[in-house]
């Protein structure tokens, strides 16, 4: 995705086209139902059309920016941090161990865990679809759920999930154990969580993996799986995304439960 071969203008043009193709079916469905079934005018049509133009232009520019900056840096860092030479840090014995494919000490990957946690957290905060849902949640709850509170809870969920997923790839433990245990925990939590938060919490699971997070996580997973001895990129490279969908739900439910607990304690003390 480097711009040496393609000029910025060409990149923007390609991005506009693909974003427009994204929005086209939505427009067709809306126009069809509006014209045939509802047969009513949409108020403030001009404002809405202008807004739609902003959505397409904004998203297209955003994606070119990601491809120019975030994806190349994220991929390069993931590769450098999981490189055997970096991990061995000048220790020949450890390096030989890596290259001959013996089992590695998971604690050598300390920087990879920290990178996974911070990159999961920070890419989630920049995820446009999550911003949209957080704005709606604030409006609907009349401020009880703050935009940043919800997004930080989700970001912690993704960060924790990704770090655990990285640990799983490094240790080679089976994915289904984590998923099964995670969903079991989630089910129990769902029974005890405040009822009003449940739909929003489950929605955030689908929202976290949209524009930024997936490409960066996929690069991290595949980088790890191809560098850790005994892992295959196809079998182990995925799975980070499954974790990034599961743990935000747990985190948002926990956020609401802690909020409710604090509220109850406050009421009692009064």
């Amino acid at each position: 995705m480097m711009s040496q071969e393609n000029g910025l203008f060409e990149l923007l043009q390609a991005s506009f086209t693909s974003t427009f193709v994204d929005i086209l079916p939505i427009l067709l469905v809306l126009v069809f139902f509006q014209a045939i079934i509802l047969r009513k005018n949409i108020p403030h049509l001009k404002q809405i059309l202008f807004g739609l133009v902003l959505v397409v232009v904004g998203l297209a520019i955003f994606i070119v920016g990601l491809e120019e900056c975030v994806f190349p840096i994220g991929t390069r860092m993931a590769n450098q941090l999981t490189d055997p030479h970096f991990l061995a840090n000048g220790d020949d014995e450890i390096l030989r161990g890596f290259l001959s494919g013996v089992a590695v000490d998971p604690s050598l990957y300390i920087w990879t865990y920290i990178f996974a946690f911070t990159i999961g957290f920070s890419t989630t905060l920049a995820e446009p679809a999550l911003i949209a849902v957080a704005i709606k949640a604030r409006e609907i709850s009349t401020g009880a759920i703050s935009e940043w509170g919800l997004r930080i809870a989700v970001a912690f969920g993704v960060a924790f999930g990704v770090t655990l997923g990285v640990y799983r790839i490094i240790t080679g433990t089976p994915l289904y154990l984590y998923i099964a245990f995670g969903y079991l925990f989630l089910m129990v939590q769902t029974v005890f969580a405040p009822k009003t938060i449940i739909p929003l919490a489950y929605d955030t699971g689908g929202v976290t993996t949209s524009t930024i997070t997936v490409p960066v996580l996929a690069a991290l997973g595949i980088g790890l799986a191809s560098n850790v001895p005994g892992r295959s990129p196809i079998m182990d490279g995925f799975g980070l995304i499954a974790f990034a969908c599961l743990f935000p739900i747990i985190a948002v439910l926990a956020y609401a439960m802690i909020g409710q607990w604090l509220e109850n304690r406050y009421q009692k003390s009064k």
């Binding site: 994204d22 807004g51 120019e68 190349p72 739909p199 689908g206």
Partner: protein
């Protein structure tokens, strides 16, 4: 459009959205990798584009996607015809998914993988049949999810029933689905909710819950996206059982 002050605040908050990511990059590059940034100019340009793009997108969101979803929901609620509303929900989910580029890429990869490992025949028509079948299955799954989710909002059924039943069925299907489809199935749940679809669908659900008497927007309005990330997993496994046989 809102006042200039509101716009300025929005711009500041977009910078805050991106700032943590920039800090992570900067700290790792300087202290851990200990090398200067290659292509610094390109990187700075990219950061500028990310901030500008996200800013324009959010302004457009609040001026177009949100009001559009809410007004359509409101007009359907006034019309009171459940059939058309469900058809609208299905068409919206189906059409946005079938055109989703991420889905096309994953489906093509899955087809290649299935052919290479000998689960379907390797000639082009067999692969293309498998790939198109997969895309159609996921699009139908998302369409059904939105339609069922809209019906749930109209009736006021608790989302938790659908979640429990849905994941129960997914766990059950995992035992019977052919092994090579399971990874594709679980991955397909996350890719179906694109950045443009999410705000529109969220506004649609909340708009419905606001327009229908006795519905709570918080409890009933959310949940459409949750269902849309659940049904593809189930449907793809069922598709796998039909095409590749039961495990």
């Amino acid at each position: 459009m809102g006042t200039l002050k509101a716009l300025f605040n929005r711009f500041l908050s977009v910078i805050l959205d991106i700032l943590p990511l920039l800090c992570v990059f900067f700290i790792f590059q300087t202290f851990v990798i200990q090398k200067p940034f290659p292509h610094l100019e390109q990187t700075l340009l990219g950061i500028g584009l990310v901030i500008l793009g996200l800013f324009l997108f959010i302004i457009g969101l609040e001026n177009a996607l949100f009001p559009l979803g809410e007004r359509i929901a409101n007009q359907f609620a006034q019309k009171g015809n459940v059939f058309w509303l469900l058809l609208f929900g299905f068409t919206l989910g189906f059409s946005t998914t079938i055109a989703e580029p991420a889905l096309t890429i994953i489906a093509t990869k899955a087809g290649q993988l299935a052919a290479d490992s000998g689960f379907i025949q390797t000639h082009d028509s067999a692969i293309s049949f498998f790939v198109h079948g997969l895309r159609l299955t996921i699009a139908v799954a998302v369409g059904m999810a939105i339609a069922i989710g809209v019906l749930r909002i109209i009736k006021g059924w608790p989302l938790i029933w659908f979640i429990l039943a849905g994941y129960g069925l997914i766990i059950l299907a995992t035992f019977f689905a052919p092994k090579q489809i399971i990874g594709i199935a679980y991955d397909s749940g996350g890719i179906t909710t694109s950045t443009i679809t999410v705000p529109l669908v969220a506004a649609l659900g909340i708009g419905l819950a606001v327009s229908i008497k006795g519905r709570n927007p918080m409890v009933d309005g959310f949940g459409l996206i949750a269902l849309a990330s659940l049904t593809p997993i189930l449907f793809v496994m069922i598709y796998g059982m039909f095409v590749l046989g039961i495990a």
